[in-house]
Amino acid sequence: MKRRVLVAFVLTLALAFVFLLAGAMLDLGPTTIDLRAPVAAHLAQSGVTHPVTAVLLNYRGYDTLLEIAVLLVALLALLAVVGDAPVPPSRAAHPVLQTLARLATPLMIVVAVYLLWAGAFRPGGAFQAGAVLAAAAVLLHLVGLQPGWSRPRLGLRIGLAAGFVLFLAVATGLLTQGSLLQYPPAAAGVLILLIESGLTVSLALILASLFLFLSREEGA
């Protein structure tokens, strides 16, 4: 009985919150800070022509640098939690599924490279490309072609950290320009593509690791 009262109470509060928020959003005046104009004004010297990519890797490159650092820390914490559990033998899926996964994987790699390249001038970029690559790895794991990962060896460790290290190296290398991550307009496009390539590899490995290390046997 007590539980039912609690449920009713919480649901009523949640519903009231929806109406409050909806009212506040309906009542919203015109924005006092409009960032669209500054973003558009500096697009020409940002090195890319898509505004979201310009914000992610040029104007607010600092956010993206810290984001990849957060991902790396999350993965390290996950590795510390899962420990040294044994890798279960991969269960082979139906041959049709395996063949489909074998066919899909090269296509997914091509799509990832395209997304990385397209990020400069249309929706796309390192995060989407990395997510597609990681999905390919997860797909291969689910059909039994890619066993779950145990302790990361040197190659994987370098790959996981490469994106962050490359980004940090570019950021500190540009300190001579005056401030962190202030690209010279002439080289901005090349630098952003370089950073995004590193980010794609590391993001794909980190996202795939999050899944493949978790798929191990539960160790007590």
């Binding site: 539980r3 609690l6 449920v7 919480v10 649901l11 509060l13 949640a14 519903l15 919150f17 929806v18 928020l21 909806a22 959003m25 309906l26 919203l28 924005t31 409009d34 960032l35 669209r36 973003v39 505004p51 979201v52 310009a54 914000v55 992610l56 607010r60 956010d63 993206t64 984001e67 957060v70 991902l71 999350a74 993965l75 914490a77 996950l78 939690v81 899962v82 995060f127 993001l203 980190i206 996202l207 999050l210 899944f211 978790l214 539960e218 160790g219 007590a220």
Partner: protein, 100 residues
């Protein structure tokens, strides 16, 4: 009432559903899902309100893109912790939680 507002409204509903879930549900897996629902709601409010005017503001969109990736990493870490808890205690809830 624009399309953006509909997105923001859906975001507010999702967020509240998520909050109610986090408070009411004892099962940790479902609680993580509810937490993700909260995050998705917040993202929807951000992108929804960003396109109130005719041209969408790219800054909130970039922030949401960053947030989605961080949310995925946080979810994976939470799942790893839940698995460890289950391995150590055989429980999928926190001690002291009342669940039906």
């Amino acid at each position: 009432m624009s399309t953006g507002f509909v997105f923001a409204l859906a975001g507010a509903v999702l967020f509240s559903l998520g909050v109610a879930g986090v408070v009411l549900i004892g099962h940790l897996l479902r609680r993580i899902l509810a937490f993700n629902l909260m995050g998705s709601g917040a993202f929807l409010v951000l992108v929804g309100l960003a396109q109130r005017q005719d041209v969408a503001d790219p800054v909130p969109q970039a922030m949401v893109l960053t947030g989605i990736v961080v949310a995925v990493a946080a979810t994976a870490l939470a799942l790893a912790l839940v698995r460890k808890l289950h391995a150590l205690t055989g429980q999928l809830g926190l001690p002291g939680d009342v669940d039906e």
